[in-house]
Symmetry: none
Subunit: 120 residues, 4 copies
DNA sequence: GTGGTCTAGACCACT
DNA sequence: GTGGTCTAGACCACC
């Protein structure tokens, strides 16, 4: 590794969540592969210029989501099996998009009209 | 009126902003029509079970955005002209959708694949 | 409330986890009832003599497990529906007991012999 | 030998203690018999993929508990007399089970109800 | 007042 | 060196 984690300190979504999202995305995209080791908490923290606790919280959440696996004293690794993770993430995104499209349709747009604007 | 304002207390977006979004949406969709009166701050507050200050803040923002108009002793009304509101809201939603689609494409889906899944 | 939370500072199970277990048990036993408010993070922290962050972590986990529900600026409450939580907890305990009994049987004890000793 | 030593890197109980527990159990169950030789520290370490120091610590503890015996240039062996080991281990397990059953009873289950579920 | 986030830094056990 | 826990305390938004 390591791919860049991009943080927006102004955003309302907290830093730890941005880290989570970044890593989830890299896993989904395939930049981070199964069993691959990711930077230690301290490394990641210093490279991002944030406190180790913040990274720890992100890693905790990712572990909870089974995206990563941490082995104490050895380090942190992408999970053995990440396919389901990717699939879940895609499904969730599609659902959100569908919701938004339904809102637009309530406002009077047709599905084709919407798709046309999306394609541009 | 009044159409249901749905609040999510777990959400990161503050209550006052959720109220703003709800009302903006109802205007965009046409459920709330131009010049129509909306509930007083106190009424709205008690019907939602929130603090009047919270509703006040929402109404202030809506007034600032020219979505509603307060007439001193008479009450609060939807603005005379709401077309621009709708347009802005639509543009914003389309942008969000495009963002999400770009993320999905990074994960390896093609634009047509995505659209197919959306249509279902 | 509030029922006593008993902490063992010597134990290998961390404080935050002990808090989680205590509250889960009180919910399972029915001492803490659905929708009941529990002490604020700061209150709980000072009454236990621990840091608010530690309590926060416990509450986060409980929220994740859907045992409690927190509404920002209002407080923290036992979930609307706790029956399934109790059931899950019981099932888990039964499984652990079964495992241990199987180990004992491997060591040459019969199931009846074990049960006899348990009853005492 | 050697029987499988199963390690859980996620567990809170340290690796060396898991090794101790595993071997104690195999002795109690009779898979490892009195005077039988067990692998050297280095062998065990490499077969488990852990640091030799970790195995050393486990062996030290086992020797202290008189479960095994190290004879300088010859190797490491299960003790001459292992009966007490088995008895102690059984007593400990029974106590743990009793504790868990008491918790279940606090949750409103009767002792017979619990035993019925265990038997299944 | 409430919860939410973050920092700085300590100490621990394990390897 | 690694992760795990905890403290002390700050600042924020919201109500």
């Amino acid at each position: 590794m390591s791919p860049l984690i991009s943080l927006d300190y102004q955003s309302r979504t907290p830093i730890y969540e941005q880290i989570v999202n970044n890593i989830e995305k890299y896993v989904a995209v395939g930049i981070l592969k199964e069993k691959e080791q990711i930077p230690s908490i301290r490394e990641m923290a210093s490279s991002l210029g944030v406190n180790p606790n913040t990274v720890k919280k992100a890693y905790d959440i990712l572990e909870n989501k089974k995206v990563i696996q941490t082995i104490s004293t050895k380090g942190t690794f992408i999970s053995d099996d990440t396919k389901h993770t990717t699939k879940i993430k895609i499904d969730r995104e599609i659902e959100i998009i569908k919701d938004k499209i339904q809102e637009l349709m309530k406002m009077g747009m047709s599905i084709d009209e919407i798709i046309e604007r999306i394609r541009k």
